[in-house]
């Protein structure tokens, strides 16, 4: 087996990517950006910046701050709007031949529906990914849609019902009942899940006595959240081994990606690492390839969930003593 050239293509129950490494939402711009440094031909797919119905200006700066092995950002859905995206940006991606997953956002259920309606029948788009961290204007308080399970189900259900193409629900790690939420998304019609979104985080400039971000709280990404993302993928994959999961959070090397595949991801997405190293996705795919060869696996899919049994782990996901006397 070690002599065979392993295959890197992955099949997420019908959604096929030539490589298991995709660009994560919001990290490759809309397709016109990146200055050609990211080689689109060496990506398994591109998840677009999250799209709203109208062009979005986003938040004011500072929009980023660096933290220990992490990046805090709050871009606030700056995007060209769904129409401009389809007319100006999508063609470029389609020409490059890279599978496109459109990220759907909104401030109301209606906006999600309208954005998805605009996108789902475009032949250049392979799948939709639903962003659930947008503030839910109908509920108020600035809380994101994912704070209420009913809202998650409403949004995912509505988008999935109308869409002709597969729908992925992008969930945050920030849910104690993550498995149930993921299950509810699947029952509402989601084809698969993307785990995880940036983790709410904050930093303070102590000299200026101000929060580092204009929004105070932003999304934490990068290596610091990798263990959190990995745990989220593992939990959901254990609960629903047949549902495709795209793992995302702090992946920067082939080895990092292999961690996710072993934990149960069907493919991975790369965000922050690509901002630092535009060829990170290509290098990660190579790294996966090397690992498959070394270990004698025939394909990336073969790694999935192949974690060897950890003796004392029986569904316990925060360990108390297995014996207490």
């Amino acid at each position: 087996m070690a002599g065979v050239k392993p295959s890197l293509a992955v099949d997420l129950n019908g959604v096929v990517f030539p490589l298991p490494v995709l660009a994560a939402a919001g990290c490759l711009g809309t397709g016109r950006d990146g200055g050609g440094l990211v080689d689109l031909h060496r990506l398994g797919g591109v998840v677009t910046r999250s799209l709203t119905l109208h062009p979005g200006k986003g938040t004011s700066t500072p929009r980023m701050a660096e933290t220990a092995a992490g990046l805090l950002t709050a871009v606030g859905l700056q995007n060209p709007g769904v129409e401009a995206f389809v007319s100006e940006d999508l063609p470029r991606l389609v020409r490059a031949g890279v599978p496109v997953i459109a990220s759907v956002a909104g401030a109301s259920l209606e906006e999600y529906i309208r954005v998805a309606s605009f996108l789902h029948s475009n032949p250049g788009i392979t799948a939709l990914e639903v962003y659930l961290s947008a503030p839910d204007d109908e509920r108020g308080g600035g809380r994101p849609f994912y704070s209420h399970l009913e809202r998650i189900i409403e949004v995912i259900g509505s988008v999935a019902r109308l869409s002709h193409i597969p729908v992925f629900a992008k969930l945050p790690a920030l849910l104690p009942d993550l498995e149930e939420t993921a299950g509810a998304c699947v029952r509402a019609g989601a084809h698969g899940l993307t785990l995880i979104d940036g983790v709410p985080g904050m930093s303070v400039d102590t000299a200026k006595l101000r929060a580092s971000l204009s929004t105070v709280i932003g999304g934490l990404s990068g290596p610091s959240i990798r263990p959190i993302a990995l745990a989220a993928v593992y939990r959901v994959a254990q609960a629903m081994p047949d549902v495709p999961i795209m793992g995302v959070g702090g992946i920067g090397t082939g080895d990092d990606a292999v961690e996710f595949l072993l934990a149960g991801a069907w493919a991975v997405q790369v965000g922050t690492a690509m901002l630092v190293n535009p060829s990170a996705p290509a290098e990660i795919a190579q790294g996966i390839h090397r690992h498959l060869k070394t270990k004698g696996f025939a394909s990336a899919a073969d790694l999935r969930g192949r974690l060897r049994g950890n003796e004392y782990a029986h569904g316990h996901w925060t360990g108390n003593g297995e014996e207490s006397a």
Partner: protein, 290 residues
């Protein structure tokens, strides 16, 4: 824009600053004043984002052909690491990045203003303007003598130069804005270029607006990627037609902007003087370069 492994040819201290010269012909060949490079950090650190530096020199000809110089004030983890980097070490560099300063077609008298490390790109600009036959005058500001970057070089590059330090240790005591009106009049400035701290840039912008002097400034905003992918580095810039504003990326749509088009109150959120977009839109901005 290229990504290269660039060898460090030379590393040296210059007052409060540190200068690195790299062998990077693909970058140097295209580099123009106002553009910058991004440098990757070592990957076992707790800080991981690339750091961004204005291009100070890019030699296309002569003994230094294919080299590139940038200058920084070592203070945080990234700049401290770079200050320790040794000759012959390789750096992962992307550049040249961003839009360069535009040169005036007809106008002749250029006043170049820089503060602190802003001189790095301003001196590069001075050279290019002079080689195009323009008159260059300079106004250099810094906190103290140590932070005045290569004053001799500044003198060499300019018709007249004024230096101003906050503690008076070199040149006049004071701030750039104190000298600006006299300087503008004295040299009969027709175009103003500036690279300075945000607050100073705003003061310069006010003077330019008041006197209707066309101007260009190089801004700095926190950048995660430096190449236009992440949208963290935006500056609110009024549309040419006045119909509103757009958050433009300093890295790819800047860092050189027309100060008359920057929505300063919004960009400088620090001072809560923000105004909502007026219902009639913003007045169209006519000063060059539009």
């Amino acid at each position: 824009m290229k990504r290269v492994r660039a060898e460090i040819l030379n590393t040296k201290r210059l007052g409060a600053y540190h200068s690195l010269t790299l062998v990077a012909p693909e970058v140097a060949d295209r580099a123009r004043p106002g553009q910058f490079v991004s440098v990757a950090m070592p990957n076992d650190r707790s800080f991981m984002l690339r750091r961004h530096f204005s291009i100070h020199q890019a030699s296309r000809r002569g003994g230094w052909a294919g080299t590139l110089e940038f200058v920084f004030d070592p203070h945080g983890p990234g700049t401290s690491w770079l200050a320790e980097a040794k000759a012959h070490q390789f750096l992962d560099v992307i550049g040249p990045l961003g839009k360069a300063f535009a040169y005036p077609q007809k106008l002749n008298n250029c006043l170049l203003i820089s503060e602190g490390h802003g001189s790095a790109s301003i001196y590069f600009l001075a050279q290019e303007l002079r080689s195009r036959g323009k008159r260059v005058d300079m106004l250099i500001g810094a906190e103290d003598q140590e932070h005045v970057f290569k004053p001799i070089e500044g003198k060499r590059l300019s018709q007249t130069i004024a230096i101003v330090t906050e503690d008076g240790s070199l040149g006049e005591r004071g701030r750039i804005v104190d000298m600006l009106p006299t300087m503008v009049d004295g040299v009969n400035a027709q175009v103003i270029y500036a690279a300075a701290r945000r607050g100073t840039l705003r003061e310069i912008a006010d003077v330019c607006a008041e006197r209707q002097i066309p101007s260009q400034i190089a801004v700095e905003e926190q950048m995660a990627c430096g190449v236009g992918m992440c949208f963290t580095c935006v500056v609110p810039v009024i549309r040419k037609d006045g119909s509103g504003f757009d958050n433009l990326r300093a890295c790819s749509e800047g860092p050189v902007f027309n100060p008359a088009r920057i929505l300063w109150d919004r960009w400088m959120g620090d001072e809560p003087r923000m105004l909502p977009t007026p219902p009639e839109g913003f007045p169209p901005v006519r000063t060059w370069p539009g």
